[in-house]
């Protein structure tokens, strides 16, 4: 029986990829270990190996094809004793998107599928009138922000694990080594505490480091330097010794990577005076705020999200797109209820708002963008307008940003509240690996919709 070769998932978050190159042709003999093709994921170009022996029958997806969904049959392999030239392509009904055959198990869907959102954010009304827009992924927007700032200021350099020759573990620093060379784009050993300290010392010594953590989970090894060395020195020195540094990298749940690689550290860093903490959602904010972070005289923790890197949004075509730190953004205007969120939660809040609109509930969505200093005014002004609030946060509920927003509403907005503020956070457990449990643990638009109904008594 002929064997179907399917587009493989080559990273935890890969949903589709480009079939960059076939390394075999129809009629070739292959065995276990033969490299069949090169496949480009959102992160890297990977080799696709055969695990079977046989003869390549039909190649069904030509090289150069983009957007090949994981699970699509890309070639057929004739087994022993079969005539390769007679191997047929599977019928259309057997393609990946169709229902799987009864004996096949459907792959479990990651809990982070909850977090998916195709909604495009509305154009930021703060942008100058008549600005041309282009489409960009968040990944490219971040890269462009770094490249532009490096061109502008020779003190800016990028340091971290796999940022240079590997082009970034998540491809965020792609191309920087080529343009700026190894003195400004620096691969470190796996040594977070050490290189966070070296970066901090370099900032004290007058440079402008951008320190990439492969993920913020690993920054816990380095948190002493972020907090004790970077955040506190300006104060402790009576304003003499500044520390203009950016610590950046992906934060929050990725997909099926388990508890140690899936945490949102926003509340941790937002707790510390002396730090600026930024957690953008769309490409425009990612670029404009990273540029502002690099220019800031203060230490900045810049929290990105792996699941958002590949999302495309509109990005203004401006020579110098720099956004103000410490200002929230109204992503959608509404009058009945306010949904406050940040980072990946914003996509869910917007999804929820769309669905609520169908039911006649007009929700305002606020993206905090900066977690410290927090833009209380925008939150409270919205509360004064809607009198009801839900906070949506992909992270633990206890001592969260949601807790802080609720405290602000109690202290400064109590008279405007028509209902208690409700928070929608992940479940209060370490993130489990099993797909079904992961799905139960992570927030989704349904939960936000339910919370909004609760505060609107609908």
């Amino acid at each position: 029986m002929a064997i179907e070769l399917k587009m493989p998932a080559l990273s935890p978050t890969m949903e589709e990829g480009k079939l960059a190159k076939w390394l075999v042709k129809e009629g070739d003999e292959v065995s276990s270990g033969t490299i069949l093709a090169e496949i480009e994921t959102d992160k890297a170009t990977m080799e696709f190996e055969s695990i079977d022996e046989g003869t390549v029958g039909k190649i069904l997806v030509a090289e150069g094809t983009e957007g090949v969904k994981v699970g699509t049959v890309i070639a057929m392999l004739a087994g022993e004793g079969e005539d390769a030239s007679a191997v047929e392509a599977p019928k259309a009904a057997e393609k990946a998107e169709e229902a799987p055959k009864s004996e096949e198990k459907k792959p479990a869907e990651s809990g982070t599928a909850n977090l998916a959102s195709d909604l495009k954010t509305a154009r930021d009304p703060q942008l100058p009138h008549g600005t041309n827009m282009k489409t960009s992924t968040v990944r490219d927007a971040l890269r462009d922000a770094m490249a532009e700032e490096m061109r502008r200021d020779s003190r800016v350099f990028v340091m971290g694990e796999e940022v240079a020759e590997y082009q970034g573990a998540y491809k965020v620093t792609q191309g920087l080594l080529e343009e700026f060379g190894p003195t400004r784009v620096i691969d470190t050993p796996i040594t977070e505490y050490g290189f966070a300290g070296i970066g901090t010392g370099a900032a004290m010594g007058g440079l402008r480091p951008v320190i990439e953590f492969m993920t913020f989970n690993f920054a816990m090894q380095a948190i002493d330097h972020i907090i004790n060395s970077a955040a506190k020195t300006n104060y402790m020195s009576g304003g003499q010794m500044r520390c203009p540094i950016v610590f950046r990298g992906p934060n929050g749940a990725a997909s099926r990577v388990g508890a140690q690689h899936s945490q949102n550290y926003g509340p941790w860093y937002a707790n510390v005076p002396g730090l600026v903490v930024i957690a953008p959602y769309d490409a425009s904010d990612a670029k404009g705020l990273l540029k502002a972070a690099i220019r800031s005289e203060d230490p900045v923790v810049f929290l990105e999200n792996e699941l958002v890197y590949g999302r495309s949004f509109e990005l203004p075509e401006l020579d110098d797109h720099v956004l103000p730190i410490g200002k929230a953004r109204i992503m959608r205007e509404g009058k009945d209820v306010t949904i406050v969120s940040y980072s990946i939660g914003v996509g869910l809040a917007l999804e929820a708002a769309e669905r609520l609109a169908e039911e006649g509930i007009d929700a305002e969505v606020i993206d905090l963008r900066t977690l410290r200093p927090l833009d209380k005014e925008t939150v409270l002004a919205s509360l004064a307008k809607t009198n009801r609030m839900v906070v949506a946060e992909e992270g633990f509920p206890v001592c969260s940003i949601a807790s802080e927003i609720i405290a602000i509403c109690m202290e400064d907005g109590f008279d405007n509240l028509d209902a208690p503020v409700v928070r929608v956070c992940n479940e209060d457990v370490p993130l489990p690996y099993a797909a079904n449990l992961e799905k139960l643990a992570i927030i989704d638009a349904d939960r936000i919709v339910a919370a909004v109904k609760k505060v609107t008594y609908k």
């Binding site: 350099f157 050993p189 300290g197 901090t200 010392g201 020195t233 020195s237």
Partner: protein, 355 residues
């Protein structure tokens, strides 16, 4: 990058030996710096200033004018004075831990603003917001004053990184203790400093005790100058109680680092006469041990003997002591009489910019 040819086994062994022991050999061949009378007198004055300053700080602590943690440098004066004297103050940078008063004085920072920081006053070098462990003078390229044991080693490597990045010819000197030498980040920093040939001198001030733990009880390798071996960092073991040997060793190390060879690890063998901090009764060592060092190895007495031999009179040294006591007394008066920081100062300097 082309791969280097694999050298013959013997060659590699000789090279390694050369790389790691050459500086020690150079020092052993000629251990002591030969100062002019004026130079030695200057070292003497600086060491005496540190001692008198620290004695006064201990006294003010006892009076309740200095609070919190206060770590005195008494006994270790020759280390900071000898090393600082070899640095180029226009381009080199220095960083240390929380036992930092002596280094600042050796750098020529005004004792008044240091003492006023100890008493938590507005005129203190950190406006009273840092305290004994957290003092900085960017103007003097003195980058602290860090309270977390070992943090200054990575930060110092960062200063060295900045020197190399800017190609300004400067060298960073990072001081830390025998206790800090057991922190993991120290070795992360050794690795990167050696890998990238950063211009840095790692200075371990081995005073024999990590707080109350004697070196032998806390360190598998008690010869700290060998601790860079795994990273191919040459080490030097130096008598930290002899200001002239310290100075000489600093010159050897600086020459090596300035030539672009990467880091050097120096172990300065010294002793602190007082407890770890003011609240430490130092019961972990005998009075005889302390007394023995004071009588036989005291760096200031040692320098004094040599000055007398060079023809400086006892009277003129008494004059020096009198002058320094007066200077320290003035600093203490200044520190006691300066106002505390104003209440609005609480909220300044948290961030540089407004958002």
């Amino acid at each position: 990058m082309p791969k280097a040819k694999t050298p013959a086994v013997e060659t590699a062994a000789v090279e390694e030996d050369f790389a790691l022991h050459s500086l020690q050999q150079a020092l052993d061949a000629d251990k002591r710096y030969k100062p002019s009378k004026e130079e030695l007198l200057h070292f003497y004055e600086q060491m005496l200033l540190i001692r008198r300053f620290e004695e006064k700080a201990g006294q003010l602590y006892g009076l309740g004018l200095i609070g919190g943690f206060c770590h005195l440098y008494i006994g270790q004066e020759a280390v900071a004075v000898g090393l600082q004297s070899a640095l180029d103050n226009d381009k080199d940078s220095v960083i240390t831990g929380y036992r930092d008063h002596g280094h600042m004085l050796a750098y020529g920072i005004d004792p008044k603003v240091i003492m006023a920081e100890l008493t938590g006053r507005e005129a203190g070098i950190s406006k009273g917001k840092g305290g004994s462990m957290h003092m900085f003078s960017v103007e003097h390229r003195f980058y602290g004053g860090h309270g977390i044991v070992g943090a200054q080693v990575s930060l110092g490597a960062g200063l060295a990184f900045a020197h190399k990045y800017r190609e300004d010819g400067g060298v960073a000197m990072a001081y830390f203790g025998d206790g800090a030498a057991n922190q993991g980040q120290v070795y992360e920093s050794f690795n990167m400093a050696a890998l990238w040939k950063l211009p840095i001198i790692f200075v371990i001030e081995n005073n024999g005790y990590a707080m109350g733990t004697a070196v032998k009880r806390g360190s598998a390798e008690t010869h700290f100058h060998r601790r860079g071996t795994a990273f191919r960092i040459p080490g030097m073991s130096v008598d930290g109680m002899d200001v002239l040997e310290v100075r000489k060793s600093a010159e050897i190390a600086l020459e090596y680092v300035r030539a672009g060879n990467g880091p050097v690890l120096m172990e300065l063998n010294t002793y602190r006469y007082r407890g770890h901090s003011m609240s430490d009764p130092a019961k972990y060592r005998s009075r005889e041990e302390v007394q023995g060092v004071r009588e036989k190895r005291d760096p200031i007495d040692h320098a004094k003997t040599e000055l007398l031999a060079m023809g400086v009179t006892e009277e003129s040294l008494k004059e020096v002591d009198k002058r320094i006591r007066a200077q320290v007394a003035q600093s203490a008066d200044f520190a006691e009489n300066s106002p505390e920081p104003s209440a609005p100062e609480l909220y300044t300097d948290v961030l540089v910019e407004s958002y």
